[in-house]
Symmetry: C2
Subunit: 150 residues, 2 copies
DNA sequence: AATCAAAATTGTAATAGATACAAATTTGTA
DNA sequence: TACAAATTTGTATCTATTACAATTTTGATT
């Protein structure tokens, strides 16, 4: 982990007491900005921390999200995904391969401060869905196979 | 169901062949704009259609969403929710009671037409999270009990 | 250093939403 | 009426997540 110190700092910044496991989990999410699931985090760390429990990973990720140290994404129907990039940005999910990508959005900020009736808004997420370049190409190729154009 | 004809029309509009079950499911989602889950739809219909299978409900809702006749919301970590209101609007989820509400958003439109690199965007959803009025009040009351102010 | 309570971690068992799949039924057409 | 295609059903299964009790670690106090 190249950001161990940063992980500890991030924990401190959001009021989370640093333990071996918490530092490792925070560090993993900061190092792997591919929106990992709890299972991915567990798999990635269990080699270096053989005693690590999956429950700890689940609990810690939820704790970190609750404290605001990471983002919890619900863009994936199946798995909750986590993101250490807490700067305002949107997410895209390919409906074919399931890959989740960051999408910078300029005026997202304008939409996030709204107050709607008696609802107190604490966070906001903008999700896009569609097809990534690779899957787009594959889908086109398959469509050609079904109805070949001479 | 007061919108049976509208349900059939909606199915036709999005290229879904009407069957007894599909009409009922489409109609239920149109009549109950509370973002029901598959289980809610099943419970709501199984009285009037005793033979209805839960698998049919899951499959049909997925089909309707795929065809664009309804929206599939992933705002709830636990359950997928469905919305027959296919006009552009945002959603709010209370982190305490789990209730999902509609939030009209004016310039959401501006964010949805973006094209990001090689990503082909087919849909976009804006989610807000926080506390609804009722839960906000309850949370405040509980906070007072813990640290009473004389 | 020794003690002890609080906090954190672990492991197992259970829950529940969703899906796979094959059998049964319905539909539409020849 | 016959028959293939489409739809529905029911059961079994999968898997992400949580509950919970036991164990371990931490940190303060003597």
């Amino acid at each position: 982990m190249k950001t161990q110190i940063e992980a500890i700092e991030r924990l401190a910044q959001f009021g989370v007491k640093p333990s071996l496991q918490r530092i490792a989990i925070m560090g993993y999410v900061m190092d792997n900005l591919v929106h990992p699931t709890a299972d991915t985090v567990f798999s990635g760390l269990s080699a270096s921390i053989p005693t690590l429990s999956k429950t700890t990973v689940y609990n810690t990720l939820k704790l970190l999200a609750r404290q605001g140290a990471i983002l919890e994404l619900s863009i994936d129907d199946k798995n909750v995904r986590y993101d250490a990039n807490i700067f305002r940005h949107a997410h895209f999910r390919c409906k074919r391969c399931g890959g989740v990508h960051d999408v910078p959005v300029g005026d997202f900020e304008a939409l996030t401060l709204k107050y709607a009736g008696d609802l107190t808004i604490t966070e906001s997420q903008l999700y896009y869905k569609g097809y990534c370049g690779k899957c787009r190409a594959n889908a086109d190729a398959e469509a050609d196979e079904e109805a070949p154009e001479p």
